[in-house]
Symmetry: C2
Subunit: 324 residues, 2 copies
Amino acid sequence: MSSIEMIVAARARLRGHARRTPLLSSPFLNEIAGRRIFVKAECLQHTGSFKFRGGWSALSALEPTVRARGVIAFSSGNHAQGVALAAKLHGVPSVIIMPSDAPKLKIANTRALGAEVVLYDRATQDRDEIGAQLSGERKLTLIKPFDEPQVIAGQGTTGLEIAEQADEEGVKSAEVLVPCGGGGLTSGIALALEASAPTFRVRPCEPDGFDDATRSLASGKIERNATLTGSICDAIITPQPGNITFPIMQRLVGAGIVVSDDDALRAMALAFTRLKIVVEPGGAVALAAALFHGDQVGEENVVVVTSGGNVDADIFAKALELHG
Amino acid sequence: MSSIEMIVAARARLRGHARRTPLLSSPFLNEIAGRRIFVKAECLQHTGSFKFRGGWSALSALEPTVRARGVIAFSSGNHAQGVALAAKLHGVPSVIIMPSDAPKLKIANTRALGAEVVLYDRATQDRDEIGAQLSGERKLTLIKPFDEPQVIAGQGTTGLEIAEQADEEGVKSAEVLVPCGGGGLTSGIALALEASAPTFRVRPCEPDGFDDATRSLASGKIERNATLTGSICDAIITPQPGNITFPIMQRLVGAGIVVSDDDALRAMALAFTRLKIVVEPGGAVALAAALFHGDQVGEENVVVVTSGGNVDADIFAKALELHG
């Protein structure tokens, strides 16, 4: 369902709306890794994560009369903000269903980006039921976070930029390390690079204990995580790879790399010191893999995606205190 | 002595070496300021500040046999690192004279970037004498931090990029707020914009108590700061505007804007939350001026330069603790 043609079309729709994020580097990071590291800083994307690409891609692909009725999404995090801003900029309503115990700042941000936030009680209410009712009444279109071709196409535009920017740096082949939740970003980048830089190989990166993609790729079938709580890498904790994203990953990406929460915090501190960017824990796992698990990397050049920067000040301060 | 032709020539020499830093924005910052704010993120430049531009420009303009003998600079901070990396990439030696009580990390970084660091004791030794002796023996070329035409030309390339990037955003006129120490960045950007975006007006920004440029512009003659210690904005504390930079500023820039150290810390915390960039106190004064002193700004659109991000973890954590 997803293809390079869809990614190229998404890029055209994103032009002038999504930011072409920079590809950063530091001799100090190269020295730690023992190879050249290039950092695709998607934390600098609008709303602080790559999710804006997928949100914009999906919204802009809708038939105008359908889009005008509005969209709906379930998310307590980056997808919420990406969809909310994309809807606002399209001038259409968005409804975001969020758990009532989501961080107050994220609820406030999503509202401030123009969304109607509907809170539900995780213990007593069924979010799918609330969503279905609202969608039915108002004929809203559901924007899924990763298992949706136009969302994958939007995330894949990151891969087209990586191919161009790596070429500008003279990089002819590389492993591309990507933080992996449901696999939208990972599969989108893999599809983009298959066509635009076929010598590049994507590797999904995950936190210890939430390595569903890594295990699924190893076993050849979709594996679930035993639990969904207990990692600081909240942005990339999903139950299992998607039904659309997994076959793409199976065909195109290499083995997963698993890092600890402490690795992620160390990578955040180094991104602060050496790159001057703010990365959230889940967005730092690929950088952590390149810096601290280089024995699992096979190429002289590594591109890592820092996929988001929406981290609370206290967690960031903790990373600096432990490793700054 | 400095001119748009020199800046255009510097841009050609910097191409492929200096980074074209992104122009960032956030609807949340626009809301605080009550106008559109665009942030030229020079903290993402190589070595974490705009100083690499001036260093590269000066080194690359030297006659090759002169350059091969090496360069020398006095600096405990961003200029040291900018010159050291520019020299390393040119394959020529650099000597940086630093006070022995400079932060250990900055000494270590400057050495790691390939420079020979010569430490001196502020209390008992004269750095100019040490520098003169070394320069004489080895025929090194002194790279001054701001009062040097090729350094000003390098910093001015930031202004050419601002003109292009603002045009891409549809901005037809703006005030351009620039952190101001000796005036190299301020005067370079002003010269660039005079030619490439004449409806844009530069405004220097300084910390309270170290407002030599603001007072000099007001009185029409070079004024000195009463003291050189006591601000957290170390990167932009200089005794007085330069003899080359001041006449350029006098001709081209508007009145200065003065902010408090606490304003700078607040701006750092907002840059963390809303832009996902790391800004040092001195690099944050222009953003602080746009956010908290908007009554002194006359345009609907403001471009602010965040000129550097070389801040110690404890100062950054303090900004987040107070204002995060």
